[in-house]
């Protein structure tokens, strides 16, 4: 579904991504992890056409992204940005409706079908009750959900989420990751209602959410993909300790999911 082939990208002289390659099938949640500056956000910017590839190519459903204009890319790939500042001029519904932009002309007039999609997305993301509220009145978690809703309205097979859980409290982090998982793994009922499984790439810092809510984990270090596999394959104490320059343990919780914790006893001294 998503094919990344030997891509190199960066800003001016500075190369941030170096020879990055991986493939993921449809209906997968891939988490990109790695220390700050390892190239996670740059990957999202390169994959959405914001910065050019110096080498290599990215294909979605077999189509080469960098041969498309921004409108076409926006139909294939939707990006959920970090909710940092939202222009306060809009209501919840208006922001979600902007997700239909890649299908609209300059006037931006929604067709009945566009409106139906907006309504459905508002329901799906539990934002319908606050559709007329001004966006500045939303909490951080609700704003992040709003951006997810806008991206869903783009109806793209691939979703890219840039550190969606940063700045959110635990309740919203879990809530968001549950939603992300469901997008890639829709229930039987949702499938019967015509919902297709989406493919998701999410950059994330919290390693403890990975084994529950993601199918694959890619570890980026200094712009290179060091390891990629299932959460259990990547969450290895030796590998993580080396990457984060810190002694780390990986333990299993009561349900058998992996948790990463510092191997440090501050009272030992």
């Amino acid at each position: 579904m998503l094919e990344v082939k030997e891509i190199t990208a960066g800003y001016g002289e500075k190369l941030v991504l170096k020879d990055l390659s991986f493939n993921i099938p449809e209906g997968t949640v891939l988490a990109l992890i790695g220390p700050n500056g390892s190239g996670k956000t740059t990957f999202i910017r390169a994959a959405s056409g914001i910065i050019p590839l110096l080498k290599g190519c990215i294909r979605v459903d077999g189509q080469d992204l960098h041969r498309m204009n921004s409108q076409k890319i926006a139909r294939m790939i939707a990006v959920v940005p970090q909710a940092r500042s939202i222009p306060p001029a809009f209501t919840v519904e208006e922001v979600v409706a902007l997700g239909r932009t890649p299908y609209l002309n300059w006037l931006g007039k929604l067709s009945d079908r566009d409106q139906a999609i907006v309504d459905q997305v508002l329901e799906q993301t539990d934002l319908a009750a606050m559709r007329d509220r001004n966006v500045v009145e939303l909490s951080g978690g609700e704003q992040q959900r709003l951006f997810l809703a806008r991206a869903l309205a783009q109806e793209s097979p691939l979703l890219l989420l840039d550190e969606p859980t940063t700045h959110l409290d635990l309740q919203y982090q879990v809530n968001l990751m549950q939603r992300v998982y469901r997008l890639a793994h829709p229930s039987k009922m949702e499938q019967a209602a015509g919902m297709k499984a989406r493919t998701v790439v999410v950059t994330i810092h919290d390693l403890n959410l990975l084994s529950r809510y993601t199918d694959l984990v890619g570890l980026l270090v200094d712009g290179r993909l060091v390891e990629m596999g299932t959460p259990d394959e990547v969450l290895r104490p030796d590998l993580l300790s080396r990457t984060y320059h810190l002694a780390l343990d990986v333990i299993k919780d009561a349900s058998g999911y992996s948790l990463v914790t510092p191997a440090d006893d501050p009272t030992a001294l």
Binding site: R45, S48, G49, I50, N69, S70, Q71, K72, I73, A74, R75, I77, A78, V79, P81, I86, P87, P88, A89, F90, E94, L98, G99, T101, P102, L104, W106, L107, G108, D132, V136, Q154
Partner: protein, 344 residues
């Protein structure tokens, strides 16, 4: 949004414009009461002679002088307020205004340079001046954007500073041109401060083609400007061709500003005040903000002009002085407000 709510801003601003229009037509060296104005116009539309104006003197004053003057101000007010909102959307900055970023002065320089050449006093001749103003305006906005640019972004402070510098430079050149001209200095000075010196329908026809293109273009650019509010990166990820939208916005807003400046001179702050009030009351959706600002800007400029022509009647104060007296303090208020809260 309910249907009533969608129409409300247009209805209210149109009513303000209508009242301002009747007042504006009535005020002048010969005062005509609103009742007479309405009666004379409606009688003329029915092909009759108004009982309040048996000799047709008022009718002649109204159709030959007052209405073209009002139409000129309506077009200029609409253009300045609409291009103000468009520049604000483009630069994502509530303080952008054709006057503050130097476009008005640049257009003024172009217009004055063209006035130095004595074009024939025909509609074609009158159309040259807005074209020259457009050239001056575009040149200024490009220089300002280039000066203010840091990498790919245009920081606010740089934009305003570059605007002030370019504005000062263009104004200095304009003054130099005017002082060296053999024509009547006071007339040019009055023009520059926003007093109209040309009367009759000529100037209206001279700017009409530019206004039609500029204003209708600005009305349809609302949706891409909305998306642009989320930043260039998100706008592109939503499928907007950011560079193209930027160029269209600059061209259309500058064209409208230039057409306004050509015959009504440099009128500041209208592009700042009107979009702000509209935004406060009805929100910042550019698809609504731009057309409602046009109506509001037209109405407000007519009111300002009524004040300008009546405070020391029979003398007239250039309307630009009145808008600056009102707009200066308003600008400071907005500056304070935008610092103290996350207000757009």
């Amino acid at each position: 949004m309910s249907k009533k709510h969608i129409l409300q801003p247009y209805v209210i601003t149109s009513m303000i414009l209508l009242i301002a229009g009747v007042l504006s037509i009535g005020v002048g060296s010969v005062f005509i009461s609103p009742r007479t104005v309405i009666d004379v116009i409606f009688s003329a539309m029915r092909g009759e002679v108004s009982t309040l104006d048996p000799n047709g003197v008022y009718l002649q004053i109204i159709t030959d002088l007052r209405i073209p003057h009002a139409v000129l101000l309506i077009l200029a007010g609409a253009a300045l307020a609409a291009s103000g909102s468009a520049y604000q959307g483009l630069f994502r900055n509530p303080l952008a205004d054709p006057y503050l970023i130097g476009v008005s002065s640049g257009a003024g320089l172009g217009a004055v340079a063209a006035m130095m050449v004595r074009w024939p006093y025909t509609t074609m001749g009158l159309m040259i001046i807005p074209a020259a103003a457009f050239a001056g305006g575009i040149l200024t906005v490009l220089i300002v954007a280039q000066l203010a640019r840091v990498g790919k972004t245009v920081p606010t402070t740089n934009l305003i500073l570059a605007g002030v510098a370019a504005s000062a430079f263009a104004s200095a050149l304009t003054s130099a041109l005017m002082i060296n001209s053999t024509g009547e200095l006071r007339r040019a000075l009055v023009w520059m401060m926003g007093g109209s010196t040309q009367t009759g329908w000529g100037p209206v026809f001279g700017i009409l083609p530019y206004m039609v293109v500029g204003l209708s273009g600005l009305v349809i650019i609302g949706h891409p400007l909305n998306v642009l509010q989320f930043g260039d990166e998100q706008a592109q990820q939503l499928g907007i061709r950011v560079q193209r939208v930027r160029w269209y916005t600059i061209a259309l807003a500058t064209l409208s500003t230039a057409a306004a400046v050509a015959y009504t001179g440099i009128i500041g702050f209208l592009g700042l005040v009107v979009p702000h009030i509209v935004r406060l009351i009805w929100g910042g959706d550019y698809r609504r903000l731009i057309p409602v600002s046009m109506l509001g800007g037209a109405g407000l400029l007519l009111f300002m002009d009524v004040i300008a022509r009546s405070v020391i009647a029979p003398q007239e104060v250039p309307v630009g002085i009145v808008t600056a007296l009102l707009g200066g303090p308003f600008f400071l208020w907005v500056l304070k407000r935008s610092k103290s809260q996350n207000y757009w």
